[in-house]
């Protein structure tokens, strides 16, 4: 018998029952929608504040410095102070910017970031919108983000902002393909695109898709990091190259919104990884004793810590390296991965093999992933040093030879 506490949302359940018995279905629908939206909004809003602190403190620790530690205990109130400062700052608008479009992107990037959380399964029967096209929905709305960032860069009427915007678009196009292909394999295995359905699949067969499809996880993790514009792939706002990229001209809370959305999107990606590959709210039976939504949030923050770790320790990739990595390594790997996954599902489902064969698949796929990564790393490291001889689209500009093309010292 699972234990029940106040944090099991039992009062909400009684409220639902009471509403269903006493009012019409429309009222139940509206109230449920409002309550759930409030829950998601407060999680996301609090998350953005907490993440600012977490990120700065953890990266500070990794880089052997202190991080914010003055405002409040352990610097916990620093995000609040930052927010107040940002709200007070003067809102600047460049004279030659596009008036209407300039103010749109900070709002526009917020919408997909919020919508992502609506399809997550926080607990059994605790899904805001259990869409049966959930995974595709996530991909579709994440493509709106890159469009909003493009509008931000273009409307600023600033060379650096436009360069950042073009980089975002180029990167989004390149990394969207391996992202989609990587998420196709879990969908093939689970036989559904609903996130709750995929979590149910993992609970039913007691196997996390991370073990079953490690290649998918590898590709998705890399592609999602790139789409997030975080440090290993933050060429869109590379401080040392193009000032601050697409948000160069944004000041005050408009910049604050971009910053918050970046953190929220990191949470969203962690949530997608947690629910698609690591069983969502389930934890091998432990979810009977710990409230599932706490397990889910714990998993989200576990993977978010991974993202912070990447950000704190990795240098930025050059743009051509990043593009070559997507097109020459991730996409072929993803295609091979889908072929392997589809064959396995065909054998398992159509020939009605027993479920223990999933264990064999885990072993096969792990070996496949190691082989694929080994093979493609050899290929790509050879190709990286044969840089393109001819610069395209900018061939009027003389580009200084890159270190890799220069003759080695002493030869």
């Amino acid at each position: 018998m699972p234990l029940l506490f106040w944090y099991d949302f039992d009062p909400l359940h009684s409220l639902y029952n009471w509403l269903r018995d006493n009012t019409s279905s429309e009222v139940v629908y509206v109230v449920a929608a409002l309550v759930a939206a409030t829950g998601i909004l407060s999680f996301v809003g609090l998350g953005a504040l907490v993440n600012v602190w977490l990120e700065r403190r953890i990266i500070g620790r990794m880089q052997v410095r202190k991080g914010p530690n003055r405002v409040g205990p352990f610097g916990l109130l620093q995000p609040v102070a930052d927010a107040i400062k940002l709200i007070q700052k003067e809102v600047l608008q460049p004279r030659d910017s596009d008036r209407a479009l300039f103010n749109l992107p900070p709002i526009l990037v917020f919408i997909p970031a919020m919508l992502t959380f609506s399809v997550f399964a926080w607990a059994p029967d605790l899904v805001y919108a259990d869409l049966n096209v959930g995974v595709l929905f996530l991909l579709a709305i994440s493509s709106i983000t890159s469009l909003a960032i493009f509008v931000a860069g273009w409307s600023s009427n600033n060379k650096y902002a436009l360069l950042g915007a073009m980089r975002v678009i180029a990167m989004a196009i390149s990394y969207e393909i391996p992202l989609v292909l990587a998420l196709l394999a879990p969908v093939i295995f689970a036989g559904t695109m609903s996130l709750a359905g995929i979590v149910d699949f993992q609970r039913e067969y007691d196997v996390w898709l991370a073990f079953l499809l490690p290649t998918s996880l590898f590709i998705y993790a890399i592609a999602a990091t790139a789409e997030l514009n975080r440090t290993p792939a933050d060429i869109a706002e590379a401080e040392s190259e193009i000032v601050a990229g697409f948000h160069t001209e944004y000041s005050g809370m408009k910049f604050g919104l971009f910053y918050a959305v970046e953190l929220i999107n990191s949470l969203a990606v962690s949530g997608i990884v947690a629910s698609l590959f690591f069983g969502g709210y389930s934890l091998y039976g432990l979810d009977d004793y710990i409230p599932p939504w706490i397990i889910f949030i714990g998993k989200i923050y576990f993977f978010y810590f991974g993202l912070i770790w990447l950000r704190g320790t990795w240098p930025r990739l050059r743009i051509d390296q990043l593009m070559a990595f997507a097109w020459k390594m991730l996409i072929p790997m993803a295609l091979i991965n889908i072929a392997v996954a589809a064959t396995e599902v065909l054998l398992w489902r159509q020939l009605e093999w027993d479920n223990w064969v999933l264990g064999v698949f885990v072993a096969i796929n792990l070996v496949t992933m190691v082989l694929l990564i080994g093979f493609f790393f050899r290929m790509i490291t050879r190709d990286f040093y044969r840089l393109p001889r001819r610069v395209r689209l900018v061939h009027d500009v003389s580009v200084p030879s890159l270190p890799a093309t220069r003759p080695a010292a002493g030869s």
Binding site: L136, S143, I169, R390
Partner: protein
């Protein structure tokens, strides 16, 4: 109440779709035109949702809003600034007449058609699975032809940007 909600949603989405489509044709700056086109695509996706075609709606957003519009923006930004003016189209009047005639024909056909509801009503719970089965069973040949077409287009694009003999774009 559900019916009124759907009807209100239908009219709002129609106004958004048609209004932004009109703006695409009239607005001066081509980048604005593409962004209005995106809004129009989103409106169409909303209309699909009111028809409970969720898969088509999401794919509409994914492909048209996410990919096609980005390609258009790339194309616009790679053209010189002078040719980005939307207003200097010499064939505006004849094209307008043609579009008007086409619209009239479509409205005429739509009014004459007997829009009987299909028996069984909304019988697909999960449209994605049904579309997948339909693509791989009765419509497998059109599906394969479409993929061959895409491969040919991709090969053509690669051939166009391949360097020629002298190192120049071929």
């Amino acid at each position: 109440m559900e019916d009124t909600a759907v009807i209100v949603a239908f009219y709002v989405l129609t106004i958004v779709t048609l209004g932004s489509a009109l703006m695409v044709a009239t607005v001066r700056d081509l980048v604005h035109a593409v962004l209005f086109l995106v809004l129009s695509f989103v409106g169409v996706a909303g209309l699909y949702i009111t028809l409970s075609a969720d898969f088509v709606a999401v794919v509409q957003v994914l492909i048209y809003v996410g990919a096609i519009s980005v390609l258009m923006l790339f194309a616009i930004l790679l053209t010189p600034r002078a040719s980005r003016d939307n207003a200097s189209v010499p064939y505006a009047a004849p094209i307008g007449v043609l579009a008007g005639l086409l619209g009239a024909v479509i409205i005429f056909v739509a009014l004459k058609t007997d829009w009987a509801t299909a028996p069984g009503g909304n019988k697909f719970e999960t449209t994605a699975a049904e579309i997948g089965k339909a693509l791989l069973d009765p419509f497998v040949i059109p599906f394969e032809v479409a993929s061959v077409l895409l491969v040919i287009a991709m090969l053509g694009a690669i051939l166009l940007v391949r360097p020629g003999e002298g190192g120049e774009p071929g």
